[in-house]
């Protein structure tokens, strides 16, 4: 079996904007988009640039747009597409080359929400945490930082300063952790217009999330928290 991939190529040293290039690749039932890209790079055009590593949907490197929808290349299979398949760099991020996006804004947003456990107790023992307490945040701790949700989020597209689904989910993950005492330090970022309030619950982020961790829910739970924080703020000097 063969299929055609239409790849949006962009070389910043030559091009002003991306342009499509067609490649025909052999495939079977198990061929992923990543496999196809590797075939192209190894057999047809070694200059094709893309990121990848684990090829098992856990490292989060290979996010691309497949027919306009953000996907992990390694977990998207050619068998699921009838016609030509368009592959382009993730939407809403700047494209550095071919399928490689500039993820630095994503990293900056991630760091802004203090995504680490803040706890003032320094005893060298493990905290107690029941499975029930763990379950409260466990889902939100599964984010692989692939950035697909940012490509799905029109609010991030319209306003790149919006912290975005993954960062806000991570903030919520720590806020919900029974071991954490850092919520007060994280809330100011969430309370701003580029925090949880930049979201209008489009919900597409949750649809494209390869780990089904429902970032939209996390962000909107953050709205409840931020609203509560607002009320508390009124009564506190």
């Amino acid at each position: 079996m063969q299929k055609t991939l239409v790849i949006q190529r962009y070389n910043p040293e030559q091009d002003h904007k991306p342009h499509p290039q067609h490649f025909t690749v052999p495939c079977d039932d198990s061929t992923s988009v990543l496999d196809a890209l590797l075939y192209i790079q190894q057999q047809l055009d070694p200059t094709l640039a893309f990121r990848w590593s684990c090829r098992m949907a856990i490292c989060g490197s290979c996010g691309v747009m497949v027919n306009g929808i953000p996907k992990l290349g390694c977990k998207t299979f050619l068998r699921d597409y009838k016609d030509d398949i368009t592959v382009e760099a993730l939407a809403h991020f700047a494209t550095e080359k071919d399928l490689i996006s500039d993820m630095s804004v994503f990293l900056t947003h991630l760091q802004a929400v203090k995504p680490y456990l803040i706890n003032h107790d320094t005893r060298p023992q493990p905290h107690q945490q029941t499975p029930k307490q763990l379950a409260k945040y466990a889902k939100f701790s599964n984010c692989i930082n692939c950035g697909l949700c940012y490509s799905a989020c029109p609010q991030f597209g319209l306003n790149p300063a919006f912290l975005g689904p993954a960062a806000l989910t991570l903030a919520q993950r720590y806020n919900l952790d029974s071991r954490d005492q850092g919520k007060a330090q994280r809330m100011p970022q969430l309370n701003g217009k580029n925090g949880v309030w930049g979201c209008t619950f489009v919900g597409f982020c949750s649809d494209v999330c390869p780990k089904q961790l429902d970032p939209a829910a996390a962000v909107n739970q953050g709205k409840v928290a931020s609203a509560a924080d607002f009320v508390i703020g009124i009564f506190k000097p």
Binding site: T95, G203, A217
Partner: protein
């Protein structure tokens, strides 16, 4: 801390005003947001109704006649469907924002609320209660 990256002429595409036409999911989102347009019409109806009611019997009757004109009924039918579509999306979002009970239970409970209100109003105005 990470080093600020020097980006060499990275290509940044800009969203255009019609971005939401590009994908079914975004269209559905816009449709959800647009449910408030017929809602505004119905709010207008209610407001004028309220004005009429406090004003005089004649203006109340005029309002009732206005409500019975075909285009008004048509628009309100649209509003009715908009309100149901809104209800569906809203009810489904609610358990994700406030996960208190299992989602199907919460969704069913909310529909039950909508149904009861409609039934109650119908019974009240139908003179049964």
């Amino acid at each position: 801390m990470s080093e600020p990256r020097q980006v060499n002429r990275a290509y940044q595409s800009q969203l255009r005003r019609n971005w939401w036409l590009k994908h079914g999911y975004y269209q559905r989102y816009m449709l959800r947001e647009a449910t408030v347009l017929p809602l505004l019409f119905f709010c207008g109806c209610l407001l004028t109704g309220l004005y009429s009611l406090q004003h005089s019997e004649q203006s109340w009757l005029n309002w009732l006649a206005f409500m019975a004109t075909p285009w008004v009924i048509g628009l309100n039918l649209l509003t009715f469907f908009a309100s149901l579509f809104h209800a569906k999306t809203f009810f489904e979002l609610f358990p994700r924002v406030l996960p208190i009970l299992p989602a199907p239970l919460m969704i069913a409970g909310q529909w039950l609320g909508t149904l009861s209100v409609a039934l109650l109003l119908a019974l009240l105005l139908g003179g049964v209660l």
